[in-house]
C-alpha cells in the first residue's frame, strides 16, 4: 500500500489548480475463479488487480483518473494531469492525513490463499454430484467457484487515511435439464463477505439439488400465460423486484439529476403502507456488506421506505453535494477503474405479518414466482422487467402446475402501491448489480409478497 507521505503528496498535487476536495483509492486485489463443467475442472484463472484511482472535486465538477503504474513519479504526474482539467486558483487548504484504524465488523477467519485449490475443487464436486444425481433429466452441470481478497487504502483531503480488507466468496451452481430437444436451466449462487469458513456450514448439496429441481420442473412445464394478473413473489432473490423497481431509482446518481421518478418525494406515500424497505451495509458477513464504503464512510442501515412513506435516498459524497444532503455510506465501485457513486449494499423489504401459506390460500388466481432471475430498470421512466426462473399457477388457493418462460414488467411506484400482502419469511439472495460504477456484489431480499396486478409476459394467450 502507498505510504502516508506519498499519498499526501499526490493529494496535494491534485489540488494544485483549485479543486476543493481530492480522494485516492488504492486497491490490491487477488482474485481466483475455478470453473467445473460436467464434474471436471475446465478452467482456472487467478490474478491480481493493482492500481490507484484519484478524484478531484471542484464544486459539482468531478475529475477522475486512474493508473496501475504506482511509481511516485507517475502518480504525481497523473495527479497533475488530472488537475489540469480544473482551471481555478489553488485554495488555501492544509492537508493533514490522520490514520484511522477500523474495527472490522465482518469477521474473516480463513483466507482464500490458505485453502488449497484441491479443497475448493472438492466443494465444487459435491455440488456437481448432488445436481447430477438429482434426476436422469439433468444433462449438464456448471459450477463456478470464486474468491477474492481485496485490500484497499482510502484517503482524502479532509484528512482521512484508512485501510480495509474485504474477503468474499461465492459458489454458483447451474444445472441443465434436457427433454427431447428442449433445455431448461436452474441456478443457485450462495455467497458471502466472509472467508472460506463459509463452506463449513453451507449445505452445498441442498443448493445443488434445488438448482437441479428448478431445471427439471421447468423442462417439464408448459409456457406461462400472458396478460395482467395478480403475482405472488417468494422470498430471497425475489427481492430483486424491489432492487430494480425502486432501489436504483433511489440512488443519488439519478435523483440528483432529477431524472428519477422518486425525485422530491421524501415524506410522500410512494408505496403500500405494508411496505418498509431498507438498505443495510452493516449486516454481518452479508454478500453486499462493507465496513466502510469506497469513499471511506462507514456503512449504515438506511431506512428507505417506512410504512409506505419515502424516507431516504442512497447518497455518495458527490451526489450529496448536488442534493445538499449527507452521504449515507452508499458509495461503491467495482474497482479503482471506476469513480465511486451511490449504489445499494443489501436491500430488502422488511418482514410483514402474513404466513406464506395464508397468502397462497387467500388467492383465487395468480402467477406464483418461486424464484426470479435477473432484471433491469429505466430509472427515468421507472419501467422495470425481470425474468421468472421458476413459476407456478395458483388457482383457488392452491399452487398448481409449473409454468416457464415468464417475464414480469411494470413501473416502479405503481408496483410498490399494488403490494397487498407481505409475508413473515424474510430471506436474502446474492446477486451482481451492474451500473455506472461497474459490477458489484449486492444482496436482495424480501419475504413473500403479493402484487394485486402485474403484466406477465408469457408465450400463451390470456389465462
Amino acid at each position: 500500500m502507498l505510504s502516508q507521505k506519498l499519498t499526501e503528496d499526490v493529494l496535494t498535487a491534485a489540488l494544485d489548480t483549485g479543486g476543493d476536495f481530492a480522494d485516492l483509492f488504492m486497491e490490491d486485489k487477488t482474485v481466483s475463479t475455478i470453473k467445473m463443467i460436467g464434474g471436471a475442472v475446465d478452467r482456472a484463472n487467478s490474478g491480481r488487480d493493482y492500481g490507484v484511482g484519484l478524484r478531484i472535486l471542484d464544486g459539482m465538477f468531478a475529475v477522475y483518473a486512474y493508473t496501475n503504474d504506482l511509481s511516485r513519479d507517475n502518480l504525481l504526474q497523473v495527479a497533475r494531469q488530472a488537475a489540469q482539467a480544473i482551471r481555478g486558483t489553488k485554495r488555501d487548504l492544509t492537508l493533514d492525513l490522520r490514520k484511522s484504524v477500523l474495527t472490522p465488523r465482518h469477521l474473516i477467519r480463513v483466507l482464500p490463499q490458505d485453502v488449497t485449490k484441491a479443497r475448493k475443487v472438492e466443494w465444487m464436486r459435491r455440488a456437481h454430484e448432488a445436481a447430477k444425481g438429482y434426476d436422469p433429466q439433468i444433462s449438464q452441470t456448471e459450477v463456478l467457484f470464486s474468491d477474492e481478497d481485496q485490500n484497499v487504502l482510502i484517503a482524502n483531503s479532509d484528512g482521512l487515511f484508512v485501510e480495509d480488507r474485504r474477503v468474499r466468496t461465492r459458489m454458483s451452481i447451474t444445472a441443465v435439464a434436457t427433454k427431447g430437444s428442449e433445455k431448461q436451466s436452474g441456478f443457485y449462487g450462495p455467497g458471502a463477505h466472509r472467508g472460506l469458513e463459509f463452506y463449513d456450514n453451507l449445505d452445498i448439496e441442498w443448493y445443488a439439488r434445488e438448482a437441479a429441481r428448478t431445471a427439471v420442473t421447468m423442462v417439464n412445464a408448459d409456457y406461462a400465460p400472458s396478460g395482467k394478473m395478480p403475482v405472488i413473489i417468494d422470498n430471497e432473490f425475489g427481492g430483486v423486484i424491489f432492487h430494480e423497481a425502486c432501489g436504483h431509482g433511489l440512488e443519488a446518481t439519478s435523483v440528483a439529476k432529477k431524472a428519477s421518478v422518486f425525485t422530491d418525494k421524501v415524506g410522500e406515500l410512494v408505496a403500500s403502507p405494508l411496505v418498509t424497505a431498507i438498505d443495510d451495509g452493516t449486516i454481518p458477513n452479508a454478500w453486499g456488506s462493507l465496513n466502510i464504503d469506497d469513499e471511506g464512510t462507514p456503512t449504515q442501515r438506511n431506512v428507505l421506505i417506512e410504512n409506505g412513506v419515502l424516507k431516504s435516498y442512497l447518497i455518495d459524497k458527490l451526489g450529496g453535494r448536488k442534493m445538499g444532503m449527507a452521504s449515507t455510506g452508499s458509495s461503491r465501485r467495482e474497482s479503482y477503474k471506476f469513480a465511486p457513486t451511490s449504489r445499494m449494499n443489501n436491500t430488502y423489504i422488511a418482514a410483514g405479518d402474513s404466513m406464506p401459506e395464508e397468502i397462497i390460500a387467500d388467492t383465487e388466481y395468480a402467477l406464483y414466482c418461486k424464484y426470479l432471475g435477473g432484471g433491469s430498470v429505466n430509472t427515468a421512466t421507472g419501467e422495470f422487467n425481470f425474468a421468472v426462473r421458476e413459476g407456478y399457477l395458483v388457482r383457488n388457493g392452491k399452487i398448481e402446475q409449473p409454468v416457464r418462460g415468464a417475464t414480469l414488467i411494470g413501473k416502479g411506484i405503481d408496483v410498490l402501491q399494488k403490494i397487498d400482502r407481505v409475508g413473515n419469511n424474510l430471506g436474502f439472495g446474492q446477486g451482481m448489480c451492474g451500473s455506472i460504477s461497474g459490477s458489484i456484489p449486492a444482496d436482495v431480499g424480501q419475504p413473500m409478497i403479493r402484487v394485486s396486478e402485474l403484466t406477465v409476459g408469457g408465450r400463451k394467450g390470456a389465462k
Binding site: 475442472v41 459539482m60 436451466s185 417475464t407 409476459g457
Partner: protein
C-alpha cells in the same frame, strides 16, 4: 518495468519452474471520457491501464494467471498461480500454444486524427451533444446521460513458439440519453455513434437529434391487447436479440451440450432467407481484429448460409476436438478474463427493402424498437426469450401510436424461421468485440403480452 524485459524474465523463470511453452497476452488502453450535464462538464476521466495474462504448458496442462503489476516482484507470484491453476485442471485434452498463421490481413482502425483531438474538442463535443438534444423540442426535459469517449487500445501476443502479433486501434464514441416529458408522461430515448476516423464522422448532432426524437416518439405510449402480432424488429433491436444468443454458435457450448444447435451441422436450422456470418475484417466493424486471442489470423466466415448451419465458432482446442480447423474465434474480453469463444462482428446479411417499405407493407402489426433487460429475459441454452419491449402500432402500413408495457416472447430459432422480409439497414449493437449487427427483420408472428 519495460514489457520486453518483463517477458524475458518471466519466460526464463517459467522454464526453470517446469513450464515448457509460454505466452504473454498484453493489453493496454488509454481513455478520455467527458460527461456533460446542464451545459457544464459533469465529469472528466482519464485512464491508463495495462495488464498481462500469462499462459504456459505445465506437465501437459495449460495454466493461466494475470497481473496488473508489471514489475519484477510480480513474476514469481504470477508463475506460482499459473502452475496451481494448471494442477487442478481435469479436462485434460492436451492444449498447445500456437506458432502463428502464415499471414495476417490488416485492419486499419488507428486514425492519427482521433489521437490528436484535444481535451477542449472532446469537451465541446459533449456539451454540444447535450445542447442539441435539449433544443430539439420543448418537451425534452432533460438529458440524463451524455458522454463522449475516446479510447486507444493496444494488444500484443507473444510466445516461445515464435508467435508475435500486435494491433492498435483508436475509436471515438458519443452517447446521449434524452428524457421527454408531457403532462405526467415520461419517456426516454438513447442513441450512440462510433467512428474510427475523425470527429466529423461521429455526426454528433445527428446522434443528439436522434436520441431526442426517439424519446419524443415514445411519449404517450400505452399497452395493447395480448395477442400474436406480425412484428418488425428494427435493426438495433434485432441486433441486441442476436447478441443475447451468440453462445448458440460456440463450438465449446456445442461440445458441452449447452447449445441448441449441437449435432445439427448441415441441417436447415432457420429460414432459407437467413445468412449469418462473422466478419472480423470489416473496416468499420466494432469488433474487428486481424488475429484472435490465440494469435490465429481471422477471416470472414458464414455460420448459417441460406438457413443451413455450416459451422460453429472454434478456438484451437474445440476445433481439434471437433476434427476441424480453428475459425479464429478465441476471444478475451480483457487480460483479466479467461479466453472464451465468441464472434468478432456477427452479422445477419441484409435484404433489399428499406424500413419504410417494411412498414408500408404491414397491414396491422408492431414495430419493436427496443428490448429491455436482455440479459435477464433470454435463456441462451433453450433459445427462449420473454422480453419487455417498446415500439409502435402499425395500421394500414403506417405507424399510428407508441406502445409500451408489453413483452414479446418466443424462441430465437423459431423467430428466424418466420422472417418474411429483411431490411437493407444493417446496424451494429455494441462497441467492442462480440458486436452483433442486423438489418430490420419482418417476422410473421410473435406472441405479445399486454393487457
Amino acid at each position: 518495468m519495460e514489457l520486453k524485459a518483463f517477458q524475458q524474465q518471466l519466460f526464463t523463470r517459467g522454464k526453470a519452474l517446469g513450464f515448457t511453452d509460454m505466452e504473454v497476452y498484453y493489453q493496454a488502453a488509454r481513455d478520455t471520457v467527458v460527461r456533460a450535464f446542464q451545459g457544464e462538464v459533469d465529469s472528466y476521466t482519464i485512464t491508463e491501464k495495462a495488464g498481462l495474462s500469462f499462459r504456459g504448458v505445465w506437465q501437459g496442462k495449460m495454466g493461466t494467471a494475470f497481473t496488473e503489476q508489471i514489475e519484477e516482484q510480480a513474476i514469481d507470484d504470477l508463475l506460482r498461480q499459473a502452475k496451481e491453476n494448471a494442477e487442478i485442471l481435469e479436462n485434460v485434452d492436451p492444449e498447445e500454444l500456437f506458432a502463428g498463421s502464415p499471414s495476417y490481413r490488416e485492419v486499419n482502425q488507428h486514425s492519427e486524427r482521433l489521437l490528436h483531438l484535444s481535451s477542449e474538442q472532446l469537451i465541446e463535443t459533449a456539451i454540444r451533444l447535450e445542447r442539441v438534444a435539449l433544443q430539439a423540442d420543448p418537451r425534452i426535459d432533460l438529458v440524463n446521460y451524455c458522454q463522449v469517449a475516446r479510447s486507444e487500445g493496444e494488444t500484443f501476443i507473444s510466445n516461445t513458439k515464435g508467435l508475435d502479433c500486435h494491433h492498435k486501434s483508436a475509436r471515438l464514441l458519443g452517447y446521449v440519453s434524452a428524457v421527454a416529458k408531457e403532462a405526467e408522461q415520461v419517456s426516454s430515448g438513447m442513441e450512440f455513434g462510433m467512428t474510427f476516423v475523425d470527429l466529423d464522422a461521429l455526426n454528433a448532432e445527428e446522434v443528439a437529434r436522434q436520441a431526442a426524437s426517439e424519446a419524443l416518439a415514445k411519449l404517450n405510449g400505452d399497452t395493447i391487447e395480448s395477442d400474436d402480432y406480425p412484428v418488425i424488429l428494427r435493426n438495433h433491436a434485432a441486433a441486441s436479440l442476436l447478441k443475447a444468443f451468440t453462445s448458440i454458435f460456440s463450438g465449446e457450448a456445442a461440445e458441452k451440450g449447452l447449445s441448441l444447435l449441437q449435432d445439427r451441422i448441415g441441417e436447415q436450422v432457420v429460414g432459407a432467407n437467413i445468412t449469418i456470418l462473422d466478419d472480423p475484417l470489416l473496416p468499420e466493424g466494432p469488433g474487428s481484429m486481424p488475429f484472435d486471442a490465440e494469435g490465429v489470423a481471422t477471416a470472414q466466415r458464414s455460420l448459417i448460409q441460406d438457413g443451413q448451419l455450416l459451422t460453429f465458432l472454434h478456438n484451437n482446442k474445440t476445433a481439434k476436438k471437433a476434427g476441424v480447423a480453428t475459425t479464429g474465434n478465441a476471444v478475451k474480453a480483457s487480460y483479466r478474463a479467461a479466453a472464451t469463444i465468441a464472434p468478432h462482428n456477427l452479422i445477419i446479411a441484409p435484404g433489399e427493402q428499406s424500413l419504410d417499405e417494411l412498414i408500408a407493407g404491414t397491414e396491422r402489426g408492431l414495430l419493436l424498437v427496443e428490448f429491455q433487460g436482455i440479459h435477464a429475459g433470454t435463456n441462451s441454452v433453450s433459445g427462449d426469450f420473454s422480453l419487455s419491449c417498446l415500439g409502435y402500432l402499425i395500421e394500414q402500413g403506417k405507424v399510428v401510436r407508441p406502445v409500451n408495457q408489453i413483452t414479446a416472447s418466443g424462441n430465437i430459432l423459431d423467430l428466424l424461421k418466420q422472417v418474411d422480409a429483411l431490411g437493407d439497414d444493417l446496424r451494429f449493437n455494441g462497441f467492442g468485440s462480440g458486436a452483433c449487427g442486423s438489418p430490420s427483420l419482418k417476422v410473421k408472428s410473435l406472441s405479445i403480452s399486454g393487457k
